[in-house]
């Protein structure tokens, strides 16, 4: 996704929440009919394809061509979904979960440790250099480095394994994660670090006992952002795996379409099924997800 360049924002939520209380409506009294209408228009642009995909996935293949595409089937069927699940999608789902969890957890832990070191050791030249290196990673389209990544994965004898997807995913996630986490760790009052030191705590203890709890929202945010990016990733699985057993969901979706392209309801059932997990998460943790997406971007 487009995560290449960022500017920091100091805790955006605070300011907006504050303003939320005082200003029930902008632009004052008059109702904004034009705006509302345009808003509804965009609503249609967003929902019509989604709605069409959903209802079509519930239609039987035979009657599908004859029916009105925007009217739900009077006799909805789950046959398409059964077919998708029988095409090994459970395995692809598990692969996606393994790759996402396997990459996000280390990516966030390592980024957090690095961010902590960068903030606490800002006076050390090494750490400033490391920080500069990570920042450079933000300005470079990392996808352009996939050919050497492919070579390295082959040399490590990892080609066509899930680990082959995990390692570069971690590396690609690091720059933005470190950036966001450093911004948040910087906001932890210095006195708290000092008092930890007086109590005799080492850096390792301070890292986990003080910095981590205090920046938990940021950690969750970063984890969500990375999870979404990796879950939806397509290029790395495309070039670093080969056998059907190693497919992740987006890749499986693509090959499924290649196979059953003419069976539109089945293809759409696959689309709906693979997006369902993320949409369920969206329903429950919308705030977190959205703030996760814009962490680090702003003014």
């Amino acid at each position: 996704m487009t995560t290449t360049l960022t500017k920091p924002r100091r805790r955006p939520q605070k300011a907006t929440q504050h303003e939320r209380q005082r200003h029930p409506r902008r632009a004052g009294g008059r109702r904004n009919w034009g705006g509302g209408l345009a808003g509804l228009l965009w609503l249609a642009v967003v929902t019509v394809p989604l709605y069409w995909a959903l209802i079509t996935s519930l239609k039987a293949r035979s009657g599908y061509y004859a029916s009105n595409p925007l009217v739900p089937s009077s006799d909805p069927t789950l046959d398409n979904y059964r077919m998708v699940i029988e095409s090994d999608f459970v395995r692809y789902f598990v692969n996606s979960v393994v790759v996402t969890a396997g990459a996000v957890v280390p990516a966030v832990v390592f980024s957090f440790m690095a961010a902590y070191a960068i903030v606490r050791g800002w006076r050390m030249r090494v750490l400033r250099a490391i920080n500069g290196l990570f920042l450079m990673g933000l300005a470079i389209p990392l996808q352009a480095t996939v050919i050497p990544v492919y070579l390295i994965i082959i040399k490590l004898h990892l080609y066509d394994s899930l680990l082959a997807l995990i390692l570069p995913s971690i590396a690609f996630a690091i720059p933005l994660s470190v950036l966001v986490l450093t911004n948040f760790i910087r906001d932890v009052p210095k006195e708290l670090f000092d008092s930890m030191r007086v109590d005799g705590a080492g850096e390792w203890t301070t890292l986990w006992r003080l910095a981590a709890p205090l920046t938990r929202p940021a950690i969750i945010t970063v984890a969500i952002f990375n999870a979404l990016t990796i879950w939806n990733g397509f290029l790395l699985p495309l070039i670093l795996t080969q056998s059907p057993e190693r497919r992740t969901l987006p890749l499986a979706l693509w090959t499924f379409q290649g196979q059953y392209g003419v069976n539109v309801p089945a293809v759409l059932a696959a689309v709906v099924l693979t997006t369902l997990p993320v949409l369920v998460l969206y329903a429950f943790g919308r705030r977190q997800l959205l703030s996760g997406l814009t962490a680090g971007f702003s003014r």
Partner: protein, 300 residues
């Protein structure tokens, strides 16, 4: 210090810090920094992706630079970048401003607006491919002739579809950024304007838009640099076709490298991509002026 007081401080605690950064550093160097240099190196070799890698000087570069495919791919990349920027920016600003309002119905609409953000490019592209199918898609089903064209089979139309789908996918993200930006504009500005009798449109052009300057720069940077890497969407939607109508640089790299087994020329294209991304990011930063916020590229 510890020698003076006699207190053995946890043996120079500061020395621990670089080690905390080590795991992230190792992974980043291994799978991003080394590949970055590697791609330069590989562009001076001949490699089919499986066999041995043989140095071959400037052969790959000569091949790439004399191939008419390169200017074409650059042109398509530029067009996708420029047109999708021109489509996305105004719409995102308007939607962001719209969503920044506190009305309840707008919050509800926002919930739906942001759904495309959750979907993978592959899923979006596949759904649209089905939807636009001239025989089985939405247009054919509705029996509306204007909608049942061969959307992905004709160069001009396919390009338009790519821009549309890109916008459909990314406008929500940029509206989200703009929403945050608008909400940070001091309300006193609007109150003052209202006292002066400025209407809604006037307020938008003389307060909202100028105040969003830095948000526009951030969002544009993300759009422009990000558009260099629209790989999955275009790959699944059109595979660069019809012909090479939507063959952007990233796709050109993939096709030459992983489909035609010419890793040398593909690496040369990747180098061009890196340089392009880097210079665009720096250029946009220059446009933003130094006070575009403590820019994070400070270290570069």
């Amino acid at each position: 210090m510890s020698a003076l007081t006699g207190h053995p401080r946890p043996r120079d605690a500061r020395g621990v810090l670089p080690w905390l950064a080590a795991p992230a550093l190792v992974l980043f160097v291994g799978f991003a920094v080394i590949p970055l240099f590697g791609v330069f190196a590989l562009s001076f070799t001949t490699w089919d992706g499986i066999g041995a890698i043989r140095p071959s000087g400037l052969t790959s570069w000569r091949k790439v630079l004399t191939n008419p495919g390169l200017p074409h791919a650059l042109w398509v990349t530029f067009l996708v970048m420029a047109v999708s920027w021109a489509v996305q920016t105004p719409l995102s600003i308007l939607l962001g401003t719209f969503l920044a309002g506190r009305q309840c119905y707008r919050a509800v609409l926002g919930v739906v607006y942001f759904i495309p953000l959750m979907l993978s490019s592959a899923a979006i592209a596949i759904a649209y491919k089905a939807l636009l199918d001239p025989n089985f898609g939405l247009g054919a089903g509705l029996k509306i002739h204007a909608l049942s064209q061969d959307w992905l089979g004709r160069p001009g139309l396919a390009f338009g579809v790519v821009v549309f789908v890109v916008s459909w996918q990314f406008i929500p993200f940029h509206s989200l950024i703009y929403q945050g930006g608008v909400q940070q504009i001091p309300k006193s500005l609007y109150e003052a304007a209202q006292l002066d009798g400025a209407g809604r449109i006037r307020q938008f052009f003389s307060i909202t838009l100028p105040q969003l300057k830095y948000t526009i720069i951030t969002s544009s940077t993300l759009m422009v640099v990000g558009s260099l890497t629209f790989f999955d969407l275009i790959f699944v939607l059109t595979e660069g076709g019809p012909g090479d109508a939507t063959r952007v640089l990233a796709l050109d790299m993939y096709k030459r490298g992983f489909q035609a087994s010419l890793m040398g020329p593909a690496s040369a294209i990747a180098v061009i991509l890196v340089l392009l991304g880097l210079s665009l990011a720096l250029l946009l930063r220059r446009l933003g002026g130094r006070d575009a916020g403590a820019s994070q590229l400070e270290g570069v």
